[in-house]
Amino acid sequence: MPTRTPEDDRIALLQGTLDLLILKILVLGARHGQGIARSIQQLSEEVFFVDHGSLYLALQRLEDKGWIGAKWGVSENNRKARFYTLTVKGRAQLLEKTSQWRRLARAIGLILGPEEQEG
């Protein structure tokens, strides 16, 4: 059982979206795992909760696919860390996944209707 506090109003990530977020974060430049997790949380205004175990697994998966590269380096506060960067292939994937996601979100939005009616 992952340790997750139920009173949290953070939302667990949808299946498959973590890859997209990681790629998006890495467009901004090389980051280590903890930095990526932190960025996802901050950029989503603390809405998203990232299971760190899943994050590292996802990173490994993307690395295996060749969408991101990894290199050991030193963090700003002099800690040894593994830094991830986007590859050319990853950049192309990001574009594709982004447009896919937008189409999906729009479609779902159409079905759910305008926000006011949500009560």
Partner: protein, 877 residues
């Protein structure tokens, strides 16, 4: 990606996770928390660290395969640790599987394997058939009509197995072979190993050519290439013209008669124009390849009218037409001639059933052992379940362990089978006329063993598997690993099952042994011991005139009789159970035959002293003498059956009878019946004529020598003496009468020897099984027995309670086994002789033997139970 990226190590991943935690802690510290708290919080934020590591580890691996390897390693370790258990189980399986594989490879060789020819399934024998029998091919002129008229076949070939006396250089040698039509190899689709095979043109015999087998080429010519082009003469063929060897057949092709190796094959036209033009001679087989798309029924419908027209044109007797030449039949030729299959199919399937039962008994033992071991490992499983092992994973592990055990058993069984199969081949090839089997270890035999092993694993490994699945950590831990009664129950059931199976095997073995004993002990009408046999052929080229042959036989008998150690010697065309037969028509005044069958009598040509040499008593009249020869009146002897059949008790002495419609013979005596063709069958009517007044050519006679000691060494001396009597005396083979009888009882000896061996094995396995179950149950009940004894039970009572358990198991086993053995024996009733499947004595002896062995096996654990020291037992608890 077409190169393999080097896999990232788990250590590297762990390093990254560590750095994550530190980075996280750094951030929290910046938010002014204490060092320790920050680390803790960072850890907490990460979630399940172990799970993350595990998931990384499992990523990209074929996890099940990895686990399997782990299971195999663990299984092998367990096997090594329990070496006693492993050895017992593997040995049991090796014997069981080995016996099964050996018998199966024998069945494969004798019954199942197709001829090594092209598309064997489309080959058929074309046989004439009637109410009484299915025969061979119709006469040669009819065969030629099939060839020219029938459209259903792509080819029809003639084939006649034969043995020949050939002379390559030096003395005449006896070889097995065949006479075939020129298209024979073409129809079969056999390609030459070297040189060429026969063709239609070779039927012209201009020049005469022959083909030899690979084996003969190796044996006789040492595999030298000069063999092709070598020449030989074949006795009595083409006035001694030389045949040229033109080719060698493939290594695995031995002809169409399984069990025989046809070494020399010649054109069928050497049979001579008389035989080939004869409209009433049946001497060969027709083998045909059916055209694709034509069914056997269609082909039969096409050739039957041709056959009917032929038979109407050249009619045999009414009886013969009805009994043998009524219509045509097509029988599959994919397995060759069925002589060997007819003889051995029932005995072999019976043996397969026997070894199957032995394997069952062995497997029951192993199940018991596995169950006992599973009980002792209950705690181990309970602990593993408690710390999170999946039940499927446990199940798989037990499956792997059991599978390993059975695989090891199968592998060891392969070695046993190899050794056993060699013994079986030798058993078949033992006589003077060996049956040569080619046991192949191809995918079928290996597949059979593998399937057997897999099946046994699943069936007999199932009980321990189910136990592993049921493991309940709470109960097992609380219980301290004690078993409940129900588990011993399944073991006991298996023991009763084993007793029942053993009973079937023992009763079967006893029935077969008694059959063999009865066949040997019965009055066959002759005494087989101390008789040597030498089959002599006087070649036609040297001894063309009948007078020359008789002169030689005249010289031979006194010469042999004068040798030291020879008590008597005689000549005869046939000897008992040599497989020969010769039926002729018998006509006597005052006898009205009802049918052809009725007037036929068996003919043997014998010299004076034949009956005394074999020990067949003369009942009335006189034996032949040396002066019963040309120029004196023809005389003949009858046997008892002939007297009964043709004279219905009247005195036949002095009656003149006609044989084969030819010369008249006067009956001068009657001898006792002696078995000729089959020990199991009643004696048949026989007439005997003197060698010096023969009806047949008299070029082939067997010299029988009764000796005062072992005939075997004397045979060589006699052979040496024979060769000095004249040129070109061809000694075809030597044997002893006792061995000849053994050979005729090959099926019976095979089945009774193996049934007895397997019966003994079953008995041992059951005894071991019983011992194991009782010893285990006594060990488990130590504390219970201790309490009982503390409460006043006497050691004798305790011992008796264990023995009583045995008696119950044996009683249950026998209650099932006795009827089952009677039922099964009933199915193979005609394999027995002089004993019925329900024979009470046999069943009683088998049951008593089984009960005695069971009691001996259970005595040790029973005594141990009686000697349990209550104090020690309770303290142990």
């Amino acid at each position: 990606m077409f190169w393999r990226r080097k896999k990232r190590s788990t250590a590297d991943f762990a390093e990254e996770i560590r750095s994550h935690i530190e980075l996280e802690a750094d951030e929290l510290k910046a938010a002014s928390v204490t060092d320790a708290d920050a680390r803790m919080a960072a850890r907490k934020a990460f979630g399940n660290l172990t799970a993350a590591h595990e998931r990384f580890y499992e990523r990209g691996r074929t996890v099940w395969f990895h686990d399997l390897l782990q299971d195999v390693r663990y299984g092998l370790r367990t096997m090594r640790q329990n070496s006693g258990f492993t050895a017992a189980a593997v040995l049991t399986l090796a014997l069981g599987m080995g016996a099964n594989t050996a018998i199966f490879s024998l069945i494969d060789a004798v019954l199942l394997r197709s001829l090594p020819v092209n598309d064997p399934a489309s080959l058929y024998f074309l046989n004439n058939a009637g109410g009484r029998d299915v025969g061979g091919s119709p006469p040669y002129p009819c065969f030629e009509r099939f060839r020219s008229l029938a459209k259903s076949f792509t080819g029809i070939a003639a084939y006649a197995p034969n043995d020949f006396g050939i002379r390559i250089d030096g003395p005449i040698e006896q070889v097995d072979g065949a006479r075939v039509s020129g298209n024979y190899y073409d129809v079969l689709g056999v390609a030459p190993f070297a040189g060429r095979l026969l063709t239609d043109r070779d039927d012209q015999l201009d020049p005469p050519v022959a083909v030899i087998s690979y084996g003969f080429w190796q044996r006789r010519f040492g595999g030298r290439s000069e063999a092709i082009g070598a020449t030989f003469t074949s006795d009595g063929t083409l006035n001694g013209s030389r045949f040229t060897i033109v080719g060698i057949t493939p290594k695995d092709f031995h002809g169409l008669a399984p069990g025989q190796h046809e070494d020399v094959t010649m054109p069928i036209t050497i049979a001579g124009p008389q035989l080939l033009h004869s409209t009433n001679s049946w001497f060969f087989r027709s083998v045909a390849r059916i055209r694709p798309g034509v069914t056997a029924a269609q082909a039969r419908a096409e050739i039957d009218p041709i056959f009917q027209a032929f038979m109407n044109e050249f009619p045999p007797s009414k009886d013969a037409r009805r009994d043998y030449f009524n219509h045509m039949e097509l029988s599959p030729a994919s397995h060759g001639l069925d002589l060997l299959r007819k003889r051995f199919s029932r005995p072999l399937w019976a043996l397969m059933a026997v070894v199957g039962l032995v394997l069952l008994i062995g497997c029951a033992n192993i199940t018991n052992l596995l169950l006992a071991r599973a009980a002792t490992r209950e705690k181990e499983f309970a602990v593993r379940v408690a710390i999170g092992a999946g039940r499927i994973r446990l199940f798989r592990q037990v499956l792997v362990e059991t599978g390993l055990l059975f695989a090891a058993g199968a592998a060891a069984g392969g070695a046993v089978a190899w050794w056993a199969a060699r013994g079986l081949i030798a058993f078949f090839a033992g006589g003077a006329r060996p049956i040569l089997l080619d046991i192949h270890w191809d995918w079928r035999v290996v597949g059979f063993t593998a399937a057997l092993s897999l099946l046994a694993t699943l069936v007999f490994g199932a009980a321990p598997l189910v136990r592993a699945m049921r493991t309940d950590p709470h109960a097992a831990m609380k219980d301290g690993g004690r078993t409940t009664q129900s588990r011993i129950g399944s073991g006991q059931f298996l023991v009763a099952f084993q007793v029942a199976l053993s009973m079937i095997l023992l009763a079967g073995a006893a029935l077969f042994l008694r059959t063999l004993g009865n066949l040997y002990a019965m009055g066959a009408g002759f005494h087989a011991d101390q008789v040597g046999l030498i089959l002599i052929h006087l070649p036609d080229n040297t001894y063309h005139e009948a007078s020359a042959r008789i002169a030689l036989w005249d010289r031979m008998l006194p010469a042999v009789r004068s040798l030291p150690g020879v008590r008597s010697a005689s000549l005869s065309r046939m000897t008992p159970l040599d497989g020969n037969g010769r039926g002729v028509r018998f006509e006597a005044a005052g006898y009205q035959a009802q049918s052809d069958q009725d007037r036929s009598i068996n003919l043997n040509t014998v010299s004076e002293g034949y009956f005394s040499t074999l020990g067949t008593p003369l009942l009335e009249g006189r034996d032949f003498t040396e002066s019963d020869r040309e120029g004196t009146p023809n005389v003949a002897l009858l046997n008892e059956s002939a007297r009964r059949h043709f004279f219905s008790g009247r005195d036949p002495i002095g009656t003149v009878v006609k044989l084969v419609g030819r010369p008249l013979y006067r009956i001068v005596g009657v001898v006792q019946d002696a078995k000729q063709a089959d020990l199991r069958k009643e004696a048949v009517p026989f007439v005997y004529v003197p060698v010096r007044q023969p009806i047949d050519s008299g070029a082939w006679l067997t010299l029988s020598i009764r000796t005062s000691g072992d005939p075997q060494p004397l045979i060589a001396t006699v052979q040496k003496r024979l060769r000095t009597l004249g040129p070109d005396i061809h000694i075809v083979r030597t044997d002893t009468l006792a061995r000849q009888i053994d050979e005729s009882l090959l099926e019976e000896r095979l089945i009774s020897t193996l049934a007895a061996a397997f019966g003994a094995l079953a008995l041992v396995l059951s005894a071991v099984g019983l011992y194991g179950v009782l010893a285990y149950s006594v060990a488990r009940r130590t504390s219970e027995i201790g309490i009982r004894m503390a409460l006043g039970a006497m050691p004798v009572q305790v011992t008796w309670s264990v023995l009583r358990q045995t008696l119950w198991l044996v009683a249950i086993g026998l209650a099932a086994g006795v009827p089952a053995s009677m039922f099964l024996a009933k199915l193979v009733e005609n394999l027995f002789y002089g004993v019925t499947p329900t024979d009470i004595l046999t069943q009683a002896v088998a049951a008593a033997l089984l009960a005695a062995v069971a009691l001996v096996a259970s005595y040790l654990p029973a005594r141990r139970a009686g000697r349990i020291d209550p104090l020690a037992a309770l303290r142990y608890e």
